[in-house]
């Protein structure tokens, strides 16, 4: 089985002269909870639509489960469960009948599975009510139930906590690692930084239709974290560091030297200091949050643009 569940290369989508998505590469490894992070209008949902065959890319290619997606291979999508933007269902049908309808389109699910899916998202009591009477949170829950109905290998959730109350949000955040533990791959699109940081082990950051960063969450955060250095003789230590590759990333603040982006370089910095007869009293990474990384990256693009 291929290691990459999603492999999209050079994806482009234009609407007239507007570039919605420009040259996006997205690789999602099997079994990961992968986050797509970006502000509203950054191209996240358009990318998801291209992955699901709802919009055709102007350039680039999409592979799902190692096979290219095209009009002839839409069967691949039967292995995917998705919620794209606000879940949409037939308004005059009840929640249960909407799931029954999906079961008719893609058979293989029995009435018990529908009941299980509804129960998993706590919608059993409202299952007989028409969809148009549902609150936004209930719609989201039904969307998640529909996504999980056909026991998918890949689950794509686009802003799944949108409209949910704190309890519902917490349940969804707990559900995502459960899905991963069941061996599913999860692609989570969100503009909620804390949500992505909490549940995703890999992340791709979008800005204005382009990918500005991608990788494992811990690497992204770690790679951007600062290293705090304190020694009894800070001037000598700083002078020693000025001769190193970190010279341009140094700054002094509140009785310590900070090295930007060197959060993972503690050992090498320690070796350098010892080589100059300096012994650190404090040498620790000061982690940034994903929020710090996000604003640094997207802010940088904005000022460049």
């Amino acid at each position: 089985m291929p290691d990459n569940v999603i492999d999209a290369q050079g994806l482009e989508k234009r609407y007239g002269t507007t570039v919605a998505v420009g040259s996006v590469d997205l690789v999602v490894e099997r079994g990961r909870v992968h986050g797509i992070l970006g502000p509203n209008g950054s191209g996240k949902s358009t990318t998801v639509r291209m992955l699901l065959g709802l919009a055709k890319p102007d350039a680039g290619r999409v592979e799902l489960f190692g096979q290219p997606i095209s009009s002839l291979s839409v069967d691949l999508l039967r292995r995917v469960g998705s919620v794209v933007e606000t879940p949409s269902f037939v308004p005059y049908l009840s929640g249960r009948d909407n799931l029954k309808l999906l079961e008719i389109y893609t058979p293989g699910v029995d009435a018990e599975s529908i009941a299980t899916a509804l129960d998993r998202v706590h919608l059993m009591e409202a299952a007989g009510r028409r969809f148009k009477t549902y609150s936004l949170g209930m719609k989201q829950r039904l969307g998640i139930a529909a996504a999980l109905l056909n026991d998918p290998e890949l689950v794509i959730l686009d802003e799944p906590t949108n409209g949910l109350d704190p309890q519902g949000t917490r349940e969804v955040r707990e559900l995502i690692p459960e899905l991963a533990a069941e061996g599913r791959t999860v692609l989570l699109c969100s503009h909620l930084l804390a949500e992505v940081e909490l549940v995703c082990d890999a992340v791709t950051i979008f800005q204005r239709g382009r990918v500005v960063a991608h990788g494992l969450t811990r690497d992204l955060i770690g790679g951007k974290s600062r290293l705090e250095v304190r020694t009894p003789d800070l001037d000598t230590a700083e002078a020693a560091l000025r001769t190193s590759r970190w010279a341009s990333s140094l700054h002094r603040e509140a009785g310590a030297v900070f090295i930007d982006g060197a959060g993972n370089d503690g050992t090498a910095v320690n070796e350098l200091l010892v080589g100059h007869g300096q012994f650190a009293s404090v040498l620790r990474p000061v982690n940034q949050s994903l929020e710090d990384v996000f604003f640094e990256l997207t802010g940088q693009v904005t000022s460049d643009g």
Binding site: R49, V80, S88, D97
Partner: protein
Amino acid sequence: MAAPDTATIGGSLRTEFRRLGDALRAELFKVTHRRMTYILLGALVGLMVLFYGILWLRIRQGPDRETARAIANWLSLESTMSFQNVIPYGLGLERFFATLVCVIFAGTMMGNEYDWRTVGLVVGRGVRRWHFIFAKLAISLLFTACAVVVGFLAAMAASAWFTHLYGLPYGPMDGVRLWDALASMVRLAFVISPSVVLALLFAVTWRSAGQAVGAALGIYFTEGIFTNLLTNARGWLSHIPEGLVNFNGDAVMRANGRVGNAGDSGAFIFGSGDAPLWRATLIISIWILVAMVLFFWQFQHRDVQE
């Protein structure tokens, strides 16, 4: 977790038919659970009965003048409403109302999928696009057939009541007449079909139910007006309607039979088209085919969500 279905990935013919059947069942599930389906059929019955009722009230008033011509017209109008003439007259009357109802049904059935964004829900689950719209087309045509039958039953009921009231002839009740009734209903469904397919096409073009219904009905009405104007013109202008749906629809409907002198109401119902039946059938078939090809092509090649 669902294992990769290698048999279906191969896309055998049997799998294709099964999935096409699934799409048809799903579409049927939607329309049978939709209140609007029954409201539209109810409205058609109501309109048919109402129209017969209005004509009955008119007939009750007697001839408008005591001239031989006015009396003949009045007697003729009375005759058109008899059960004996229910096939040409009832179906001719139904043509207008059934077109309205069927266009609304088809336009909303397809357009609402965009309005409600449910088209993405289905296509995003691996349902082939052409299965989805084939089911839409098939159910629209099935509804058209149902509407024709239901409307005709309403016309028969109204006409039978009127015939009983005035002691008019019912006409023969044999197999030949039954066959004639069936063939006439098929002709009516055929004449309505271009507007239905056009409503589906416009729904995909504009991704909206309202615009689809508006445009399809707009064309139906304006084409009728232009046809009437151009038929009275001279030279090449008078030949333009021969290539349009309305004129040829009139010609097909004439095969259902004529009702003597049906007076003013007859002129309204039977129209002006008088082309040979084979040519009228051919031209309408071409229009249906063109609209269907564009409908399928557009849905197959355009984004379902922007």
